[in-house]
Amino acid sequence: MTSRDIERAWPYLTGLLVVCGWWIFLGAPFPSPDNDLLAASGTVASVLVGFLATAKAILLSIAGSDVYKHIKSIGISDSLFDYLAEAMYFGTALLTVSLIGFFIQDGFAFSALWVFVSSTALSLYIRVLNLIFSLLRKA
């Protein structure tokens, strides 16, 4: 397993581990009623997606820099944008799950889904944030 494989997988593994930990060690707690939590997570998801869209614009603004040209020439710019897209999709998924939660009955399946999506979205966001800062330091 290469460091790239670990980098690709760790946010999703983190989500799974968090769900397992939440279920096994904490007994799967979830607020009831959960409207405040869902509203807050929907707001957070919106902020994350908004920031990531701005980050994409920032990356495009440094497209003329030596460091960006180099990472493009060696083939990692696509991976960087893939990571950015994954973070945006999961942020959108968190927003969607939060909205759905307002309409469905509470249950273990939905709670587990929310925990997984929120922790994975946060991990994906942290991953791309670290990479963007590394890139901007050299731009």
Binding site: T2, S3, R4, E7, H70, I71, I74, I76, L80, K138
Partner: protein
């Protein structure tokens, strides 16, 4: 007549495939397929020949940026008509003695340098290793060859006062991407070659008779000598223990090299056969003058 500079290199092979095998693999491909898919630049093997126990290679690199023009003596400069799939190219010839591992490489200021050729062959070797499955042993190292006298001169210094060296950090490479390095690791790596420079000075204490350890200095000299174009400066400063005379040895001045006179031919270029002959003569000359340490030393 013009003068062509040539440098000696010692090639170390890290994987099971020799340069001859890599070159033959490349030569069997169409030209368009000789450029690595994720290479840093458009660099390819132009031609290979084997004979007289030597391997003759020529590598070409597309020239980027502002290109040359045609300059008639009595008219204004004109552009060349290049087809859409054409570019200006610069080539560098290389002759390898597979038996000894030594090579003579042409110095072409605008063409691929030894370090670029090293990366190109290593990347090709990597792809072959990956395609074949099994262990990922691959790559070549092109090391400068220092004149045997250089080692002797350094070894004779009684007191080693200082070792200075400057290395251009190679930065993240396409081969690192193919080998599975994470994006984070690659972004933390130095910028492209020549952009980040590492300068190191190892200095003995200020006392008159202080000295760096001899074994350490000779070890550094040996390692620095193995570096290719990444090594920008390497200077050993010492003092004769008896006379106290200070001596400074610039190792890059001690790199084994030669020059050959070549008559530019068609297109004002050095013809490939002439370049190969000059390189082969240089290799033989260095060997006859015992400027190439025995393999394994």
């Amino acid at each position: 007549m013009a003068r062509m500079k040539m440098y000696a290199f010692r090639i170390e092979q890290a994987g099971p495939r020799s340069i001859s095998e890599i070159a033959q693999n490349l030569a069997d491909r169409d030209f368009a397929d000789r450029v690595p898919p994720t290479g840093d630049r458009v660099l390819r093997l132009e031609q290979m020949l084997e004979g007289n126990g030597l391997l003759y290679l020529d590598f070409a690199q597309a020239r980027s940026g502002h290109g040359p023009g045609r300059m008639p003596r009595e008219r204004a400069m004109e552009e060349f008509d290049l087809a859409p799939d054409e570019s200006f190219g610069e080539d560098t010839a290389m002759v390898v003695n597979p038996a000894t591992g030594y090579a003579a490489i042409q110095y072409n200021h605008y063409g691929p340098r030894a370090s670029a050729i090293e990366k190109y062959l290593s990347l090709t070797d990597f792809h072959l290793a990956a395609a074949g499955g099994g262990a990922l042993d691959f790559g070549f190292t092109f090391g400068h060859v220092l004149r045997p006298g250089a080692y002797d001169r350094v070894g004779r210094l009684g007191l080693y006062k200082q070792v200075d060296f400057t290395i251009a950090l190679p930065g993240a490479r396409a081969a690192d991407v193919e080998a599975g390095s994470s994006v984070g690791e690659l972004l933390r790596a130095p910028l492209p070659q020549g952009t980040e420079i590492l300068k190191i000075t190892v200095q003995a204490s200020a006392e008159r008779n202080s000295s760096l350890a001899r074994d350490g200095v000779m070890g550094m000299v040996d390692q620095l000598g193995r570096m290719t174009g990444n090594l920008k400066r390497a200077v050993v400063t010492g003092r004769d223990e008896e006379t106290g005379a200070k001596e400074t040895i610039d190792l890059l001045d001690e790199v084994v090299s030669s020059e050959a006179e070549i008559t530019p031919g068609r297109g004002n270029r050095y013809a490939r056969p002439e370049r190969w002959q000059a390189l082969a003569r240089a290799l033989q000359g260095w060997r006859e003058r015992n400027e190439l340490p025995e393999a394994g030393t």
